[in-house]
Symmetry: none
DNA sequence: TATGAATGAGAGTTCATTCAT
DNA sequence: CATGAATGAACTCTCATTCAT
């Protein structure tokens, strides 16, 4: 009732909050498995709840509705991906290595989240009516992701390591190639990791396919 | 009732059949618009029928069920795309030109079918239970599509115009880049045609992005 | 336009009318096969029309709606059955023989119309709303049918050949036994004719099953 | 979540299960009224739900589909009938009394379930495609029902109380007479109980209708 | 007369969401 | 906090019926 809290109350509240977040993440993980396996519409709240070991009503204590759960999953995953790619690329001392690291990091991430990426690529591009704000953050994360690649490219261009072409276009092309290889891996059920695919993508992206005279 | 037909009867039957096919195509076109705008699940038969100017029951006179309509749309579109790309590439006298023509033809096609391609890339990779035969032809068309690019690449490799790399991988990378640019065009609502995007793709694919010393 | 007809016109009109009745009967025969095989709801107008060699719309030129067709079938069949049983029983010179002939005639009829009788016994006892007048005649035929048996029984009772029991009840019991044997024949797919069943029914009905001391 | 249950949990689970069964029975009772009044096809799930005081979707929490509800009703009723007839007949010390008790028990049961029996006799003899296992138990109950009568008859035959005739045929004839009287009671809206009808059936079955010299 | 394409009401069924316990 | 029974809107699909040809 009071806005003032004793230290104990505060600590208890903290723990409560932490517990709540942990349970939220637990549900999110269950949702990922189910959504990834079946897609948005074929995945029922009931099945997600079951996967998480809860009853269906409980989901609604942590997420406003099905779309919110879905959006939260995307938000979480895409953020993590950007973070991973960004931090990996920052380990490099020079832009070309950074670019290569970024591509490898991306494939890494895909490797560990194959089903999710199938979902990601299939994602409808337009948010359902009335839920657009919710998807804005996802969109922003995605933009930041492109931005990371774009910056690396631009830095390399400044150092005259890469040709002068529209950096956003180039970033998109890189992503397109990565996405396609991941989808192929899913489709064909590739068992080996995607580092080989990473090599091909980097090679083609940097040097093209034309036979040098 | 009779197995014998007068010429008139025959002609009348022909016209009936043609009419039927025309109406089918009309529904298919409506379905394309609705499916493309909303995706499979969000698109209701009712809305497709309305778009086509029919009552909902009428759809079922032309397609067995919703999935059949969806599959027919894919079958039709993907076949047309393969045909277009293939015939365009065959106009070329030598493989490198053929490859370029193929890429441009593909972008051409995307330009005229932007929404559909959004749908295509989002397409679930597994057919719904019990409808798998129906989707086999779609899958085969898609494979043939990759095959066309693959062959062009291989021919160029034989003439030592392209480097020796896995031709299927290269074909996939090309498609991945094309797909990504098309999605970007949809996402951003690009108004200009995609030929500029085609140039970038061809340039990067052939020469890579590394600045030659 | 004129209400007066020349003799030719009259004859032509007669033939037209006869043709119309022939086609009606043709449809009725097709309807019998389909209704008997599937029951009222599972039988579609389309399938009946097909069976008759017509298009579905044509059925409506001869019958007001599906229920009317169904009722007409019952009306026709039950009338025929009563007629057959009645005329057979009238060949007898004395009531007991008449009763036996009636039972045999009934089984005869069932034998030639097995599927239809399955339908008859399954028939809903209440007419659909708004169609009750149509079913009145069917009901009346059925009553007349019971009446025929009842009269035979009463005549035999008057001659002290049968015991004094409620004649309507006895008529119903006879019908009940016949019906049950026919249904069993349908259920089990008996191939031989039902005359053996007729013997059992007559024997039991007349003499009961108690072993005489 | 835990496999271990405290006694309270166990009791709570028991009550839950009992509640569930009670609600199932409640729906079954509503379904009986509606099905009996209208037949399978004319009875909508919506109307059954309404009769039970539920929304339509709720029905599906207790029964897989409409056919399952229908089959459950039959299963339940026919089992109860067999049980009732069997246990009544077993109260008798000798077969003839057993037979009489069986017939009376059957009429008893019909008296309390008139509408249902109208439905029972109208029941389609062939199960819908893909649902045949569900109907097998109903069929088996029905066979057991005939079997009970058959056994009583055979026992009486062994004691030379009844004549040597096919016992299954005799059982069927009994059932046929009972059914017919029940249907007549429904059709005519008899208000008095059916024990009078039972007397007639027993009398005719045992002694026949022929006037002894 | 006959056709059969088109209709649209109505059915069964699913499932996200709510809320009393 | 968690539950899961109940809800009811929304959807797909069927088919008796109509009517322009």
């Amino acid at each position: 009732m009071s806005v003032h809290q004793t230290p104990e109350e505060s600590r208890a509240a903290d723990r409560k909050e932490r517990d709540r977040i942990r349970r939220r993440m637990h549900i999110l993980a269950a949702a990922e498995r189910i959504f990834a396996a079946r897609g948005f519409h074929e995945a029922s709240i009931e099945s997600i709840a079951q996967e998480a070991g809860y009853a269906s009503g409980t989901i609604y204590l942590y997420f406003e509705d099905k779309d919110a759960l879905y959006a939260a999953l995307f938000s979480h995953k895409v953020s993590a991906m950007v973070g991973h790619v960004e931090s990996e690329s920052e380990k490099a001392s020079e832009p070309m290595e950074g670019l290569e690291r970024a591509v490898r990091a991306q494939f890494d991430f895909h490797d560990q989240n194959r089903e999710f990426f199938d979902l990601l690529f299939r994602q409808r591009q337009t948010a359902p009516a009335g839920k657009s704000t919710r998807w804005k953050t996802v969109r922003e994360s995605y933009e930041r992701h492109i931005g990371v690649l774009q910056q690396l490219i631009e830095r390399a261009q400044k150092r005259k390591l890469l040709r002068k072409m529209d950096s956003r276009h180039l970033a998109l092309l890189l992503l397109g190639m990565i996405a396609q290889m991941t989808r192929e891996a899913i489709r064909e059920g590739w068992s080996e990791p995607l580092q080989n695919a990473a090599n091909v993508v980097i090679e083609v992206f940097l040097n093209g396919v034309r036979r040098s005279a």
